[in-house]
């Protein structure tokens, strides 16, 4: 849905195990939007898809699993080289 006005330096992350080059300094939520991935999570109640909505930390729609930690606000986390990002499907579970 989005494009960058100017190309710039990127870092490489994985999104659901697929490598992706995303803009350095971008938030994880922005990277998801830029890659046109549709949704960043599905809801625990009905499983419907949700995507970033406010981009400033107040709607909690962009909750994702980032480097193994669930429920991170993706709009408040800056991408880093090697970061492992996963879409959060439904309710997050306890990890071993």
């Amino acid at each position: 849905m989005f494009k960058r006005l100017r190309e710039g330096p990127t870092v490489t992350v994985t999104i659901d195990d697929v490598e992706a080059a995303v803009p350095e300094g971008a938030s994880v939520a922005a990277a998801i939007l830029l890659k046109n991935l549709g949704h960043c999570r599905t809801t625990p109640v009905s499983g419907e898809p949700r995507a970033p909505y406010c981009m400033m930390g107040v709607c909690f729609e962009c909750l994702m699993e980032i480097d193994g930690e669930d429920n991170r606000q993706a709009c408040l986390v800056t991408v880093e080289e090697g970061m492992k990002i996963r879409r959060q499907e439904g309710a997050s579970g306890l990890k071993p």
């Binding site: 849905m1 300094g25 995507a51 406010c54 981009m55 909690f60």
Partner: protein
């Protein structure tokens, strides 16, 4: 180990930066906590990285933030970026988490400057991917230099709602070469009449009316279709938005689009203050709760003040002024200046503030959505996005005897999800009030409790408590 500071400022937007810089200049030991990684808040987001080309897209008002960020950086104020404040206690202990590790900071004086957020106004389909706020669009433009890609969005981006920010985003998109399919202006026609008596005062405020007119003229020159008198928008689509529908007069219209950006004004982002127990009042003109404060931003909690839009919407410049006033009071209360000096320093700032906010009654009368928009959502509209609670279920709870939002919450889970009622809170209060046939202030609002940000047990475990 717990840390100490004389003045803790929470929030790094114009109010927080002005508070911290001013207090530091007066010799106060200041720490500023902000959840972003660079100063500026939302309004001046990523201001330190903006080159002239980027500033040209974003406009002059954005550029104002550069000086603010610069003087803050040059000051002696301490700066904790990437820090989520998840609790503040009446004893002025601040729970903060940063990069996975937790701290408790003891402060002698606290200024809360958490700014504003966009008013959430539920409509059918507002949870679909591809529906976002105009503010979100602005964040993407400021931080990542991202704009809607016409080739990926059937028909081009549609903007809908009302308020100055909507016009500003449209203008910024124009500068960036983005094709805007339509701007659905939902400003109620009655608003123009109600606003008219406030126009003379607004005209002598610092240039705001001229700017608004210039924005509109610019959009018209660029042939952006501005459709006035729009009501009842809804977003259609299965797993993402494919079209937006709206009423104009008695006709239902449809526009195909993959991206709808909505804006219905801004309200105080007062979650942290509410969790602390700061007394709030219902502001009928702004249609929101705001903290009850004195002339220095002081609250019912000893040593805790509010600065900027978090205390009631007045805009970025007013936020700077109120930040300075809060800093004078903090310095006085900490014994660095006496009351006479405080008042002397404050006098010109109060003058500037008074001049600046002359435009507010006009903007409030014109753009604040009518209360009916908040409370007559159709029954199957999702109100609580997190727990997917519809307007119908809220009304059902009221018919079962729930008197206020907190009872409704227990019955329906509305407001119990991760956003803790930040998005649905106002709408829930409105719907409950309307269903009972009473005023919103009578039914009250969700109680807010810490932690107000997600915090892991692992992070809590890093706390070294005595």
């Amino acid at each position: 180990m717990s840390e100490r500071c004389a003045l803790a400022v929470i929030g790094g937007g114009p109010a927080g930066l002005a508070t911290a810089t001013t207090a530091a200049e007066l010799g106060v030991q200041v720490e500023l906590f902000d959840e972003q990684s660079a100063p500026g808040g939302q309004i001046y987001r990523a201001i330190e990285n903006a080159d002239t080309e980027h500033q040209a897209i974003l406009g002059q008002d954005y550029a104002r933030g550069a000086a603010l960020a610069q003087s803050f950086r040059a000051s002696a104020a301490g700066y904790r970026s990437d820090s989520d404040v998840w609790a503040v206690t009446p004893e002025r202990q601040i729970g903060v988490i940063s990069f996975g590790s937790a701290d408790i900071v003891d402060a002698q004086f606290i200024v809360i400057a958490t700014g504003s957020m966009e008013r959430a106004l539920p409509f059918p389909g507002w949870t679909l991917p591809g529906v976002m706020t105009a503010g979100a669009g602005q964040v993407l433009l400021k931080q990542e230099g991202m704009v809607p890609d016409d080739t990926l969005i059937g028909g081009g981006v549609v903007l809908a709602g009302s308020g100055p920010l909507l016009l500003l985003v449209a203008s910024q998109y124009l500068h960036a070469g983005v094709a805007i399919q339509a701007l659905l202006d939902m400003t109620p026609r009655a608003g123009y009449l109600q606003a008219l008596p406030h126009l003379p005062l607004a005209l002598i405020a610092d240039g705001y009316i001229g700017k608004g007119r210039a924005l509109k003229a610019e959009l018209r020159r660029a042939d952006v279709p501005i459709i006035s008198g729009v009501t009842n928008i809804s977003a259609n689509g299965d797993d993402r938005i494919t079209s937006v529908e709206y009423d104009i007069g008695s006709q239902r219209q449809t526009l195909d689009t993959g991206l709808l950006m909505v804006h219905f004004g801004v309200v105080p982002n007062g979650h942290l203050a509410a969790a602390l127990g700061v007394e709030e009042i219902w502001d009928r003109r702004q249609l929101c709760w705001r903290p009850s404060t004195d002339a220095w931003g002081g609250t019912n909690i000893d040593g805790v003040a509010i600065a900027g839009d978090c205390g009631g919407i007045a805009g970025a410049r007013a936020a700077e002024y109120s930040g300075r006033l809060a800093a004078f009071q903090a310095a006085c209360s900490l014994g660095l200046i006496d009351a006479e000096e405080r008042d002397r320093l404050a006098a010109p700032v109060r003058q500037a503030l008074k001049r600046d906010i002359r435009v507010r009654p006009f903007l409030e009368a014109l753009f604040t959505p009518p209360a009916s928009l908040m409370d007559n959502a159709v029954d199957d509209t999702v109100i609580c996005r997190c727990e997917e609670v519809t307007a119908g279920r809220l009304r059902e709870a009221v018919s079962l005897g729930c008197q206020g939002p907190n009872q409704v919450k227990a019955f329906t889970r509305a407001g119990m999800g991760p956003c803790q009622g930040r998005q649905c809170g106002a709408a829930v209060s409105h719907i409950v009030a309307a269903a009972r046939g009473v005023e919103v202030e009578l039914v009250g609002r969700f109680r807010v409790r810490p932690p107000v940000k997600p915090i892991t047990l692992g992070a809590l475990a890093t706390l070294d408590v005595d």
